[in-house]
Each structure stands twice: as C-alpha cells, then as structure tokens.
Amino acid sequence: MRWICILLPHLALDGVLRSRADPAAPLVLVGGPAQRRVLLAANPAARARGLRAGQPLAAAQAISRDFVAIDHDPAEAAGWHRFLGAWAYGFSSQVSLQYPGALLVEIGASLSLLGPWPRLEARLRRELTALGFRHRIVAAPQPAAARVLANAHDGLALPGVEAMRRALAQMPVERAGLPREVATACARMGLVRLGQVLALPRESIARRFPAEVLRHLDAVTGDRVPALESYAPPDRFDARIEFGFEVTATPALAFPLKRLTADLAAFLAGRDGGVQRFVLQLEHAGAAATEVPVGLLSTERDAAMLLEMARVRLERVPALAPVQALRLVAHELPAFVPAHRELFDERPQQTLPWPQLRERLRARLGDAAVHGLRSRADHRPERAWQPEDEAGRTPPAAASPRPGWLLARPLPLREAVAAILAGPERIESGWWDGGDVRRDYYRVATAAGPQAWAWRPAGEDGPLMLHGWFA
C-alpha cells in the first residue's frame, strides 16, 4: 500500500461549480464546435431534469430551458488539476499529475506520520469534500494498478502484491485502461476479465497488440514500473473567480473571497510556506482593475486569518465600481515558521496572540498604525526616539531628566512661567546631516502646575518654545 490514486471523475464540473454561489442549481458544461454544441457534463440537478452528457445542446434545450450552460475550458480544468496537486503535495513529496483527472500520491513514507490509513483516508476525503471535489480513492502497492483499480472501486485499500493481483484479475477488460480498440478486440476474443488477459502468453500479446499494451500490463502488475513525472509546486499563487454578473456591493464579494483565501491557505499548507503579501484584483468592465494589496508583518497561512485580513482591507476600498471577477495573486511566499507556544501558558485566557491582534489592528487602522518604541543615541529630541520595534543596542540614559511626553513639533509656550527649575541645557548637534539644532533647553514650572520642557534658540533671549511635558 505505497501509492494511492485519487480519481476525480468530475474535475471540470466541480471546478466550475465551486466558484458558483449556488452549486445546487442546474448547470451543464458544453463543448465541441459552434455548429454542434454537445453537453460534456451535467450536475445532479441538471441530470434530474433529464440532461445527460453526450446530448447535443439543442436537444437539451428542447428538454429543459431551466439550466445554465458553461463553456468547457480545458485550461481551467488543468488549473484545478494543478491546484489539487499542490494540495496533495502537503501529504507527500511524490505527487504525480501524469494521468489526466487523477492524482497519484506516494504515501508509504507518510503513513507513519499521518496514518494509520483509515485516519489518513478520512482526512483526505474530508478535505476534498471541503474543497468541493468529488473523488474516488484507491490504495495499492503500484501506482498504475491504483489508477486502474480506481476505475471500478472506491475506498479499496490493498496491503500486498497478492491482494493487488487478485483485485486486478477481477477487473473488467473495458475498464482496465487499455486502448478502446484493444478492449473491443479482447471482448470479441471472449476475454472479459483482466485476469484472463494477464494469463495469456506474453509472446501472443506482443504479436497481436501494439507494444504499449504490454507496457501498460507490465506497469499495472508491477513487473516493470515506469518512472512517473513528479509534481513540483509553483512559486506563485494566482487564482481567479469570474462572476456571471456584476457585483456592486462589497458583502457580495465575501463568498468568492472566502473561496480564494481558503485555496491560498491549502496551497500554502501544501508547500509548507506562508504568505506575507498578496494582492486582490477587482476586475471591472472597460476599466483598469482595482488592486487591493494586503500586507502582513509576519508570514501567515491560517485560512481564517487570511480571510479576515483580506475582508477588512476590501471593506476600506471606497466607491466600488461593478466587479466582474476577483483575482488573488501572491508572489512572495516565504518559509513559514509556526508561532512559538509555551507548553504551559501563563495566561490561560490568552485567546488571541499578539501577532494576529497586530494584523487585525493594522488591517483596520492602516499599515503604519501599530509600531513599537525605540530610543536612539542622538541628542536631538526629535531623533532620540523611533517608531519601530527595539533592536540592537540600547543607548545609555541621558544625563539630565527627559520629559515623558514630547510634542510632535514645538509650539510657542503660552502658559505663564512661574519658575525655571533647570537649565539651560545646550543641545547643539546635527550640522552634518541637515537637521541642524542649536537650542537651550529649560525645565520650567508653569503657573498652572505642570512642568514643561521648553527651549529658545541658543544664545538668544526670545520667547520659549514648548517641546514636552514632564508628565
């Protein structure tokens, strides 16, 4: 049981359905040339109305007019295939997208971490269902065998090679992944089960059928296993949801936004990374797209948090023009370091850790709204502090007391001065960097009581400028 095959029988349809607000509404995928449109897939509601895959679109419209027809886009289906590959990459480092509409995942090495198999299978099914994809899962010792068995089974788990050969022998020939003409020829020869084909002498198979038949049978039985192309996760995330109508209100974007951020979180979990910055693009008809950048201070990958950050930023976008599509692009995907947690938390009611609280505050109040405090070794009061988190060496304390409050810019001192308590203290610095300061600072007691820190230009006798309060 080293390989699992996750067969996605309705990949294209599920991919379309999951971006729609009401997946239960009748919907069909159509394809083919413009003169002869053919239904390729129909969801359960559409099938309940009598629509079937393979019907011409005209015949379907004669049966019912109450359905939505979407053009099948093979590129989009391939995109969903890759997305699920990224998701599966979270479970194993060997994921192959070589077979269309199926994922082959090596789990032999992952079982000791994620297993036992029933638990892992339940988790796979739960996550796939949450992502909105119908699926069949088969586990077998060989990848090609798992793929073939998934044609007829769901939930089959074969521990050994013997059990795998027995199950393969019972497979109907027409579902064994053989070319159609080969399967037809076998049926005419009276070969119904794959076991009967496998029992034939190799020479006769080689003589009667093309060479790839023998290669396929060898791969299925595990006699000669071809190398699989391994999936390599991309370095950027780009997903887009197009609406069939124009959205004018921000709340209506909540559902597609939730889908996109959940996809992003699944993608990030798959490549064991985080995201620090991503961009939401609101596409309008006939106008440039509105870009809403979402920046985080630390790397994150929690779906709920990404959604909250994106939602709050989106709410701050003024005067939304009608939106036709929503797109989420993330280029910077740095490594994710999970937050360090104490085993025994000193504060059991610690419901929201500071990094998340900080992101929430920044999302609503602005990127620069939350900052730390740091003192710098500079005599000039304006440059003796910095709005950033403390790092590096802390300068020694100043010789004379400094006020707790500093005015952002000095103002004329309006209060009457009762007494000068200290000073003058000459601060003269900065001629080299353009911020030249020559001041005499005094600590004065105002008539009202509070003590002020005030200055006048060095050597002059002008009015005092208020620069701080000794609060």
Partner: protein
C-alpha cells in the same frame, strides 16, 4: 444567575460592599506608591478592570502615576499598548523610568471611534498586560465596553480623561483625579471600599 458563587470570591472581587472593613489579601497590582496602595481597598490597582485617571491638565503627573506599574509589567514580560496617545511618548524618558521599550506598542487611530475599537480589541485579546487610552468624548456605553473587555482579557485598562468627566458617573472600578496645584491625588471612587476623604500629596520628583 444560576451559578453558585463563593461568598469569599465575591468579597475579594469587591463586588459586595461590607460595612465593616475586613482584612483583604494584598493586591497583586501594586501602584508603586505605598501611600496610594495603603488607601486603596485592593492595595493596588483593581485587577482586570478599568482605572480612570483625570489629570487637571496635560502633563501634571499622569505618566508618573503609571510608570512604576508599566515598568513592573514590562519587566515581567507583559505587553503594554498605548492607544492613540496625545503626544509622542518620548522613548528616553520611558526607558529611564524603567519601562522595557521592547514590550511597548503604540497604536495610532485616526478617529476616537477607531481608538475605542482598538483599545477594546487589545484588552479583549488577553495578550496585553495593560492598555492605556485617552478617550476624549467617551460615553458611558463605550466605557462600559472597555470595562467589560478588561474583565474578559484580564488586563489593566487605564483611561485618561479630562477633569470635566469627573462630574459624570463612570463604570470604572477606580477613579483618580490628579490636581496640579497643589499637586495631589484625589480618589473619587474605588470599588469595594469608601473613597478616602483626604487627598494624597503627589509632588513631582
């Protein structure tokens, strides 16, 4: 109110006032001023509650009042958040007062409403040891939210308000007015005990 509440717990939380002063355990949040601790029923700041400070004017000692507490909290690894301070907190002076600057965060808010929201979020999160706010025109309802958030997050909330607010009732557990001239502290209200009649001298160092 179906829950069974221990009488001792009620008394110690100062929710029930007793005529006879009982000996209460020493406070876990000393103010750093022994004279002030002595007159407060909790022997310190009320825990997990809002304290209202009403300075007569900007700069007449509101920072001196809280600096010892902030220094103690930050040195113990607690986080202190200043929400929309009226001036720039001058880092060298805060450092000289013993405050660990690494543990201090400043939140700037454009509107009073945002400031109240930020203060409530910080208090409720439980990841802050103390939150200082300067609500200029906060109504009773907003202050009650802050008080509830402080209870939820088990944090100290300090609200610095203009002296005119002393006339209005407040949900704060402790209200202290700072007079500039003479420099003194007046305890206007303290939950769980009578406010001391005599003001405390509070001269600048």
């Amino acid at each position: 109110m179906g829950a069974v509440v221990a009488l001792d717990a009620l008394l110690h939380e100062r929710r029930v006032w007793r005529g006879q002063p009982a000996s209460l355990p020493a406070g876990r949040q000393p103010t750093g001023y022994p004279a002030l601790d002595a007159v407060l029923p909790a022997h310190g700041w009320p825990e997990a509650a809002m304290t209202e400070v009403l300075p007569a004017a900007d700069g007449c000692g509101e920072l001196r009042l809280v600096w010892p507490t902030l220094a103690r909290l930050t040195q113990a690894g607690g986080r202190v958040v200043l929400v929309a301070p009226p001036y720039v907190p001058f880092a060298p002076a805060w450092q000289a007062a013993g405050v660990v600057l690494r543990q201090v965060q400043v939140v700037q808010a454009a509107t009073p409403r945002d400031a109240l929201w930020a203060a409530e979020q910080c208090l409720r999160s439980g990841s802050c040891a103390a939150v200082l706010g300067w609500p200029a025109q906060a109504d009773d309802r907003a202050l009650r939210r802050v008080q509830l958030a402080a209870e939820t997050g088990q944090a100290l909330a300090f609200a610095f308000r203009p002296p005119a607010a002393a006339c209005n009732p407040s949900p704060a557990a402790l209200r202290i007015a700072i007079d500039a001239r003479p420099a003194q502290l007046r305890v206007l209200k303290c939950r769980g005990g009578n406010a001391p009649a005599q003001p405390l001298p509070f001269a600048p160092a």
